[in-house]
């Protein structure tokens, strides 16, 4: 493990909002694995961790590094998909407008987007199956379509490392399948994916590496080592038993299981 180059590291990372800590003394190093999952219950600091890594949130103490460098030196190599719920979808903008924002920083805020940018935007929209919606006003999109637009914007950034905050939250089945296919394709292209995820059932099949959070770090390691009853109950506490009970009831009744 120590021989592999470090992808992301956090040291003594603490983030406090008001008087309530969102992350407490989180310390880990993720080697150059390809698909990394960040999991934990609601309010466990998953989004805050991504935001700290991206420098969106200022840590109260501690620091993070990406590719062994300060985030400011490697930003142009990273694409970010924030949580869909964080923005106002009634904003007067079209699908194309939103995806083109992925090119703003890449091209420079004071330069016009050129033909190359237009092509990248169109390709990104095409990849998520939204090209025919490019003139659509964003308030008219479904949850799944909103998520596709956010993914397209991240694709337009053309990073090599993708940080995604709950890309599967509240999406329809066809979008979920599309995202899974897209992630597979990105993996084959050699992209690195860090995904904040909710669904315990799919964790083992999706991820190579898992970070389990509950304000403090519970575990960080290869899925095969980290994904077990002890760490999961440490992460989810009493909530896990309730959750697995509900899952069981649903499975018995043969309801399709969709998480959040």
């Amino acid at each position: 493990m120590s021989k592999e180059p470090t992808l992301i590291e956090a040291h003594n990372l603490t983030v406090v909002y008001g008087r309530k800590p969102a992350l407490w003394n989180v310390d880990f190093e993720i080697p150059g694995k390809q698909v990394i999952g960040i999991m934990g219950p609601n309010g466990s600091g998953k989004s805050t961790l991504l935001k700290s890594i991206m420098g969106v949130v200022e840590p109260t103490s501690g620091f993070t590094k990406v590719y062994d460098q300060d985030i400011d030196d490697v930003r142009d190599r990273i694409s970010y998909v924030p949580q869909r719920q964080d923005i106002d979808w009634d904003f007067p903008a079209s699908v194309w407008d939103v995806v083109s924002m992925g090119r703003f920083a890449q091209r420079g805020l004071f330069k016009r987007l050129n033909k190359e940018d237009q092509d990248i935007i169109a390709q990104s929209l095409d990849k998520v199956g939204m090209l025919s919606f490019s003139k659509r006003q964003i308030s008219q999109l479904s949850g799944g379509q909103q998520q596709r637009v956010f993914l397209a914007r991240a694709l337009a950034q053309q990073g090599e490392l993708f940080l995604m905050d709950e890309p599967f939250a509240g999406v329809d089945i066809s979008t979920e399948e599309m995202i899974i296919d897209l992630l597979k394709e990105m993996k084959e292209e050699g992209k690195t994916l860090v995904i904040v995820h909710h669904d315990l059932h799919t964790a083992q099949s999706y991820f190579d590496w898992l970070v389990l959070l509950n304000t403090r770090l519970v575990a960080s390691g290869p899925v095969s080592e980290v994904f077990n009853d002890k760490t999961l109950s440490d992460t989810y506490g009493g909530k896990l038993t309730t959750m697995s009970k509900i899952t069981q009831v649903l499975e018995n009744k043969e309801f399709p299981i969709r998480h959040k």
């Binding site: 991206m54 970010y80 106002d88 007067p92 079209s94 924002m101 703003f104 920083a105 805020l109 940080l163």
Partner: protein, 287 residues
């Protein structure tokens, strides 16, 4: 000619306010305009005490600075003290406005400055201060200043469009891409401060807020593109100014008040018109 001068002045204020107000409405922070327009009072008074005149660049600078000081205070209360944003606004501007009132009542008895004028403005009086721009061409000096500010704002909005759009629509994404939320916040706040400062002594603080919030809110009902919204809000502001002016003449009432009423009533009318159009559309699609 006097009609034209007043309408010109009001329209320029309307356009300036529409440009800034559209971004404020989208950021859900229009009331920061209210805060700034009140918070300029101590700046004006101190600048006046230093320079001795009420209308010059020193006073404008003093006002603009205390307006920006208000936004810094609000930002500080929100970010560092972690007070709710609306509470931060309430505390900051009342503090500065009250400071201005006290300074004027304690040291400014002989000064030609009053709080009434700050709130209600005297747009009718712009005609008393006419300047010859070039031979035979006269304009109110107030509108010359407003035109200069319009040029600055246009430049800022055109050059900074992407930065303003990105930090308004999705600040977290903007920050992740290395675009400074703070820088663009203060670019916008400086623009709002400048706009408010040059506007309020002609039209008063109340009409400034009306212009900042109303036309962009009306435009928001009518369009789904930010660029269109900027043009539409400016146009609506100008139309409301013209209607308001003639309404005031007919009623022999305050121009600033009449324009505010036209804006408010227009919003309600447009809202119901849009609702009606939507209902008709859905009936047609059902048939």
């Amino acid at each position: 000619m006097n009609d034209f001068y007043v309408i010109l002045t009001a329209s320029l204020v309307a356009i300036n306010c529409a440009l800034m107000g559209s971004f404020l409405v989208m950021r859900k922070m229009v009331m920061i305009g209210d805060a700034i327009s009140h918070a300029v009072l101590p700046g004006i008074f101190i600048a006046y005490m230093v320079s001795g005149v009420t209308t010059n660049l020193v006073v404008l600078a003093g006002a603009a600075l205390s307006g920006i000081l208000a936004t810094v205070l609000i930002e500080w209360f929100t970010k560092k003290v972690r007070l709710q944003n609306d509470a931060s606004i309430g505390i900051s501007y009342t503090l500065l406005f009250a400071l201005g009132v006290i300074l004027i009542s304690r040291y400014g008895q002989k000064v030609d400055l009053d709080q009434e004028c700050v709130l209600y403005g005297d747009i009718e009086l712009t005609v008393l201060n006419i300047r010859e721009i070039f031979s035979g061409f006269y304009l109110p000096s107030q509108s010359v200043v407003l035109m200069a500010v319009l040029a600055i704002l246009l430049l800022a909005v055109i050059l900074g469009y992407k930065g303003l759009l990105l930090t308004t629509f999705d600040p977290a994404f903007a920050a992740s891409a290395g675009v400074s939320i703070g820088v663009w916040h203060y670019v916008l706040m400086s623009g709002v401060s400048l706009t408010t400062v040059v506007s309020f002594d002609s039209v008063g603080a109340i009409l400034v807020i009306s212009f900042l919030a109303g036309p962009p809110a009306i435009a928001y009902l009518l369009t789904e593109r930010l660029k269109t919204l900027l043009f539409l809000a400016s146009g609506i502001g100008v139309i409301c100014s013209i209607l308001g002016y003639y309404l005031a003449k007919a009623w022999d009432a305050s121009v600033a008040g009449s324009i505010s009423i036209v804006i408010g009533v227009s919003f309600v009318l447009v809202f119901f018109a849009v609702q009606l159009a939507k209902r008709k559309q859905s009936v047609i699609s059902l048939e």
